[in-house]
Amino acid sequence: MNEAARKNAILMIRSLALVAGLAVLALAPRNLRAQDCLTCHGDSSMTDSNGHSIFVDGKHFGDSIHGSLQCSNCHADIKGYPHPDKVAPVDCKTCHADQATQLSGSVHADSKEHPCTSCHGNAHEIFPKTDARSAVYPLNVPKTCGQCHNDNGMAGKHGLASVYPNYIDSIHGFALSKEGLLVAANCQSCHGSHHILSHTDPASPTYKSNIPQTCGNCHAKINDEYQAGVHGQAIAKGDLKAPVCSDCHTAHAILQPTESAFRMQSTPICGNCHKDKFSTYRDTFHSQLGSLGGYVETARCWDCHGAHDVRPTSDPTSPVNPANLIATCGRCHAGANASFVKYQPHANARDRKLNPGLYFVRLFMNLLLASVLTFFLLHTILWLIRSRYQQVKTKSDNGGKHA
């Protein structure tokens, strides 16, 4: 259809609509009903003077959670027809006052950047969050938040990291997008919905000391174990240096803990704080073999110390308490006995006081290495020079040609 024909058609439809509208006005009572508005707004080609569509899908609107309302319930400034060209923006807080209050105290308080519709979708097609068509249905939440919190998304303009790709490839993201688990953690499970606060705000569920409780909403047993361990107790005492869930598991890119990638990445995380233990661990065969990647079964920190309820060695329930070592080591080393568990997984061959035997063995080996190599290196270099000199002097061939 060419432009002229289109304009003609629009004009014709508008004229017809005007006639129909006048007829309705002449016959009907004063208050407008949705059906009346849809006479014009139900036409998908209808635009305002700026060319923006003013179309409302009557069927979808009728199905939506607001389907039983009349247009004027929200568009309160429209009292009759014809209505002014400019109408006031709809204010959701007229009905949803609680949510509006929560939103105004949140990181999304700026209503120009974050209108309700940025999360809830098309204003005329809002569905309850239990409805799969809703933009805030659990399975749709990550995509909805991801509109901004993605690579090159709006959130980046505020200096925020792109978290959507991390989340969607995480164990939570897979559970949600691949398995469709409604109980899988989505953005709002941890961050909340209307009252989202920065993780630096002590009231936020993602504030460091609140994270165990936040994760514990689903992972209750793990949280109980964590609270009983040294890390949980330190956090409870207000020591924010102690790790919470996200320090080891990360916040968004959470992996299945048995996965080799997780096992590879997590040992250095413990090492961030436990530097000396990490350094001595790296001298052991557990670490040497473990660093090679693949599906790695050698012992990592938590295989011996426990993962969530890490306890001091002196605690009789700790797996590394001397009384429990045979059982703990025996999980991998069948036949572990009392002498076997005297092996020191954190021995320091450089510490003469702590590990004298090991210290002298290493010293002897190093001296052996240094002396043998030094002697023969000098010997070989001198020999090479002398042989070459002899070869040039007597103009002889290389010996290898003889046989």
Binding site: L292, G293, V296, G357, L369, L373
Partner: protein, 288 residues
Amino acid sequence: MPEPEANTSASVSVSAGAGEKFYVRFTRAQRYMHAVLFTTFLGLAATGLPMRFSESFWARRFATGVGGFGSILFLHKFFAVVLTIAFLIHLKDIFQRAFINREKGIFWGPTSMVANWKDVKDIIGHMRWFLGLGPKPKFDRYAYWEKFDYWAVFWGMIVIGFSGYAMWFAPFFAHFLPGWALNAVLVIHSEEALLAVLFIFSIHFVNTHLRPDSFPMDMVIFTGVESEEEFKEKRAQEYQRNLGKGELEKKVGIAPPLWLLNFSKVVGFTAIFIGLTLLVLTLTAYFS
């Protein structure tokens, strides 16, 4: 790798040197033993070094290349078992030659591997020659650096082997080793192995193969024979001794066939190439 032209020229030289005499230095069994030794040694080094330097940039890539950490440890143990068997066969041979066959000169004398007074004099004489202070010593069947190579491997087999099996069967060895020994065996195993790798891939390669007298490779360990000229030059004392006793003729062998020379070159250069590659990787990992 020799060029095709080099091959034809080699064949010419072999046929031209048909009048030249070749003397047997190593038996077939000894050459096979060396082949098993260097094959398993390269295998052990290639699978052991990535574990020793597991945080270096090449270790993880290499381990992934051979199927990850499970395979690399499996291969390491496989080569270790083969080498252990070879070592036990060697011990059995020595025992048989010394105590069953009552062969003389195994533990003492000019053809023995055991060090003697002449070796001390040779070391000093050789070094004096390096510095231009004296004549080149006349070496016998095994020169002092060859004896050192032999005993270094012998000692290394026992030390690396024992510490390796102690780690493999740690709970069993724990019955009669103190607790800290389980820590020490890794230090011993990896340091001694590092010494072996550095020694073989630099000093043994140069002393035996790459020095001008043998460059680019001493073929005698592959062919078993060496030319009269080489024999006279390298082991003057042994040559003279046999000549004096009139036993030189007993040692005469046949000229190595061309296929054996070419095959040996391919195998030998491959081994040297792998060895030097591992040496470079080891040095980069050690100094980074």
